[in-house]
Amino acid sequence: MIRYFSGIFMHIGRYYTLMTQVFSKPEKKPIFRKRIFEEIDKLGVSSLPIVIIISFFMGAVITIQAAFGFESPWLPLYAVGVATRDSVILEFAPTLVSLILAGKVGSSIASEIGTMRVSEQIDALEIMGVNSATHLILPKIIATVFINPFLIILSMFTGILGGLLLGILTGVVTPYEYLYGIQYDFKLYNVTYALIKTVAFAFIISTVASYHGYFTKGGALEVGRSSTTAVVYSSLLILLFNFILTQLLLA
């Protein structure tokens, strides 16, 4: 037990030290800018398909479930639209999609950096005098923090669209009621809240995954292990911070 906790403190300390190295001035501006665009492409653009597909069906399922759950004469029919909108915006888009991204983006970051570590590419950077932490990790943090909010907004739209299309197709809602519900008592603050969460989660995903990759020791097997632990830890931290941020922002 004591060992377990000292392990956690070791990780926190080492994570903190790494972050102080990450947030320092990059070597050359133009190269650094290029690195950021590479990462946006690799971590953001390539995630578009999975975000769209998942959000579409997620929205559809929420709508259908809401419609069956609300089969009470006292509830207005547009409540299904309201329920879908609020579930998607408040929770499913920011948290669920971030968890999916923790799996996809997190494992790719950890295995890329882990491979660079075990094949001595990080040493090669250091020997040239390049700050490897800044050069490799900072562009990934900037890219995810910048691009994830767009992915989540896209997720919100496709989720609501999925509910609309499949809701109509399965006959559980009518377009008029659904769209009325979507607009009914709409609070922009909920979107802000979701985006604040998204940014925090993006930071967790990119830094935790980078951390696990950067301190990989050994060979290919360990790279695989790092990428698994990166996904597990970033997912747990997302759930923890989801709770904390919800308390802070909504309560």
């Binding site: 190269i31 040493d123 090669a124 250091e126 020997i127």
Partner: protein, 248 residues
């Protein structure tokens, strides 16, 4: 000239380097030999500062590298080139971009000047017309040559090679050894090479240091190593000799 003074290093309980001192001279190749796991890589990484030593110091032409702050170290690092055991080329960059990388990072060269320098270095290691290939598309021997080209791109004063010919066929191994030897003389570099290959010892060693269980066990010339009566050294040399005879 690189001077290593009484360095020791432990990983946890385990001491992997005990009180090692050595001098590597300019324009010469200093070979560090020894069996696998005896501490050659840790020694080299400690000399270049990729590992911190527990005790002792490393001097680069009189400058105490071990005591330097991050910024000063970075300046000295730009005078170093290193060839890693697996070449450690950047997977995401092609051959040309790999060699150009340190130039883009640390020089103010224009694109044309960079390309000229890259092609000069690649030509020096006999690799031409491969600029656009990626590391995954070239052989182990070519990777090592690109690694050397990248290491010499910035005109280093100090060159480090960790097992430059491990994993290569004997002919390619000789080519790589010759390259290191020639480049060292040609550009008057201070070179340190780790190896467990006796052929390299005979071919390129101006000075040979034998590491045994983390300690400097023997030091001498590549001729002298054949006549020493040091038990561990002659065993190391002997096994290599027998293998050679068997191959014939």
């Amino acid at each position: 000239m690189i001077e290593v003074k009484n360095i020791s290093k432990s990983f946890g309980e385990k001491q992997v380097m005990k009180n090692i001192s050595l001098v590597a001279e300019q324009g010469k190749t200093t070979l560090v030999i020894g069996g696998s796991g005896h501490g050659k890589t840790v020694l080299m990484k400690s000399i270049v500062g990729l590992e911190e030593v527990d005790i002792g110091a490393v001097f680069y032409d009189g400058r105490n590298f071990s005591e330097m702050k991050h910024k000063q170290r970075k300046a000295v690092r730009q005078e170093m080139g290193m060839l890693f055991q697996g070449a450690a080329l950047f997977d995401s960059l092609n051959v040309e971009e790999n060699v150009a990388f340190p130039l883009s990072m640390f020089s103010e060269m224009s694109e044309e000047e960079k390309l000229e320098r890259v092609n000069f270095c690649l030509k020096r290691v006999n690799l031409e017309n491969m600029n656009t290939l990626y590391p995954s598309e070239i052989s182990g021997g070519m990777k090592k040559r690109v690694g050397i080209a990248r290491a010499i791109a910035m005109n280093p004063k100090y060159l480090f090679c960790d097992e430059p010919n491990s994993g290569l066929d004997p002919l390619t191994a000789v080519v790589i050894d010759d390259l290191i030897k020639e480049i060292t003389r040609e550009f008057n570099i201070t070179t340190i090479v780790n190896t467990h290959d006796m052929n390299s010892v005979m071919n390129i060693g101006d000075k040979v240091i034998f590491i045994y269980k983390g300690q400097k066990w023997w030091e001498g010339s590549s001729k002298g190593i054949l006549h020493t009566d040091n038990k561990e050294v002659s065993e190391f040399v002997g096994t290599a000799k027998i293998l050679k005879e068997l191959k014939k």
